[in-house]
Symmetry: C2
Subunit: 404 residues, 2 copies
């Protein structure tokens, strides 16, 4: 009899966004005239840049002619895209071509990278946290058992207003630390100086850092756009990036992961093992590369026109973030993020629970946010608002919350 | 200290195609004037169908306009594609929409599906075999240790000329059986009657079948195009399909997996667990759907024009297969496959080893094949030739082998 993976049973039931969708749908059915404004899910709304569309169309046509048709591409990505990544994302940081792996998105990468770790590796995550880091490790049995909103084998690093959203170092030995900056859900960043202790901790303890930089295009403050700006990070950090938010690729699907040769774990004989070599093996055995037209589209993000067009969209979203942040602040709310990220992390008023505040915003103002508690216990008492709606709707949502 | 996944160390070097490339390169350097003809790797060469290119271009343009832009798609695939799959691939077979999962290719699906099984599940594979089934299970520790071309926890089902390439049922209890028909590498098929014992075995033993139907578009003989044509299969079989060979999508990347609700394993409390529900959870947590323009391209495969154009390519490849098969047969060689598949499985003459015969074809005729031994011990004494080159080159390759 086939026994199934026993760890799936331990996963808590409903996924955050499914529960939100359920409540919103129910409210909509009971109040069909309500004009809901969605500042909940982190999906982009601006169309792809013209230069990107043009590149995709051109590549599609290439696929239709025998002379320019392309079959299986390289498992790790086409050279033209990897070179563009090196020239634009990693100039001066000393990353090599065979340290970059093109994928169909950062979600897959951050979910799959844990396959390289032993089952008993100890994992640290921030709290609140993007659920994929936790769920992918839980599915592999690495998170232990779930009770009272906590997995008993994970090490949680609380990030709250009290510590300025700067996670403390792990208080016990861990093997892997997941960090996401600009942060989802809090919208906050860490400076180079604040990241350095994590790199030092990893070096001192033989741990590695999985650094999710999916939102780096939103940075305006001078915070590092890559963990590799921090000295020593190339020996301990894997970095995940995505075109989803940089270039509106949430429905187009492309990203990449960087695994420098210096990042090593320990093999069965105690010998150092490059995670880069393991990931090559994993990609070669389980993946067949990203669609050629999509890789050409990603390459076009870096063209002069493409970049200008993408950054115009980023500025549009950042203006929305500013509207939310300043509007709510003026009205006396306490808010974080929104300067280097499309996310605003709003403190609920008067210590209200985050699901209660979610319901209040939905019922009274017809504005949909995301309850902070959905991202972990330390998200309780917060609500996430996103900057991905139109300027007009964003303005109206803030107006409703502020003036009722 | 981060310990790495210990099972990666057990993997033998993936030498097959690398070793072929090395020998071909070396020969080419020593004989720069040799006109090599490659009948080795299984990649398509005909361009995408015009209807497919048109659909991809149109969808790319949609992504460039605010009114028609699409962000995150459904994790399991767009309804329009799932409906096209139901109408075309599964008409009359009773498969439901929520049993179909669109992916970026069958390789990822067959590699990832093992995540649903417990670590101690016993896995059966045919010999010879497509390496992904083996490697993905080996990486999870389910294959045991590797020695003398065998993994000690896998159950091998030998397929040779002696048993007509019909695998025997497992001789000990197994939980999962991987089957691929039309078969890579042998090019042979099983009839419904030959598949039925596997379905019955699975039912009787609480096992499941992972059925790889990536080459089904090549079937001309009346062999089943889906395992679900076999009575009872919906209770025990998962089916993986791909547009790679059907529509030349090897560089475009789209496929799908079918997991009927009836397919169940056993949970921790001995209760039945639907693999469908587990896969939904897996896809929701680790995947973000397939690129919208690519899903539109896949949908266009099923359009009247698209289908006609794709089938013209299939006929082209099948004609090549016929050229190889008949040419070699006339010359006295023993060959299999090539009727329902783009692969011809050629018996080496006079019991020659498959690498020796590979070298002979390369050195004497400048034709590149794939040594059967690379697919498993029972592939020793065979060579795989593929039908994916041009008709002209295929004819010339056969001419060279037959007349020297």
């Amino acid at each position: 009899m086939l026994k199934v993976n026993p760890h799936y049973e331990k996963l808590p039931g409903s996924y955050l966004f499914a529960e939100i969708a359920r409540r919103v749908k129910e409210y909509g059915q009971e109040h069909p005239d309500a004009q809901l404004i969605r500042l909940g899910i982190g999906d982009v709304t601006r169309p792809l840049a013209p230069a990107v569309v043009e590149a995709m169309e051109k590549a599609a046509r290439e696929m239709g002619r025998a002379e320019t048709f392309r079959g299986y591409g390289p498992d790790y990505g086409y050279d033209f895209l990897i070179q563009a990544i090196l020239d634009n994302d990693y100039q001066g940081l000393g990353i090599q071509a065979d340290e970059v792996f093109v994928s169909d998105g950062a979600k897959c990468d951050v979910a799959n990278v844990q396959e390289l770790f032993s089952d008993d590796a100890v994992v640290a995550v921030t709290d609140p946290v993007y659920p994929v880091y936790v769920d992918s490790n839980a599915m592999a049995g690495r998170a232990g058992s779930y009770a009272q909103d906590r997995w008993d084998r994970l090490c949680y690093l609380p990030c709250t207003a009290e510590n300025g959203f700067v996670p403390p170092l792990p208080d016990r030995p861990v093997d892997v630390i997941y960090l996401c900056y600009p942060n989802n859900p809090t919208g906050t960043v860490l400076t180079k100086e604040q990241l350095k202790p994590f790199v030092d901790y990893a070096k001192a303890n033989g741990a590695i850092i999985v650094y999710d930089a999916a939102y780096k295009a939103f940075i305006t403050s001078g915070a590092p756009r890559s963990i590799y700006e921090v000295e020593g990070a190339k020996d301990v950090a894997i970095e995940c990036c995505s075109y989803s938010k940089t270039a509106g690729f949430t429905g187009t699907r492309c990203g990449f992961m960087v695994i420098p040769h210096g990042v090593k774990g320990i093999g069965g004989q105690g010998q150092p093992v490059e995670l880069n070599a393991m990931w090559k093996r994993r990609m070669g055995s389980k993946f067949n590369g990203v669609s050629y037209p999509i890789q050409r589209a990603a390459e076009a993000v870096y063209s002069k026109d493409g970049w200008a067009q993408c950054m115009e969209n980023i500025r549009y979203y950042l203006r929305n973030a500013q509207v939310i942040r300043e509007g709510l602040e003026k009205a006396g709310y306490t808010v974080f993020g929104g300067v280097d990220a499309p996310y605003i992390w709003m403190k609920t008023p008067e210590g209200m629970g985050s699901w209660d505040f979610f319901d209040l915003l939905l019922n009274r103002y017809h504005v949909v946010g995301t309850p902070g508690a959905g991202f972990g216990p330390c998200g309780e008492g917060y609500l996430r608002l996103t900057a991905f709606n139109t300027l007009e709707k964003t303005q109206e949502a803030v107006e409703r919350i502020v003036h009722g």
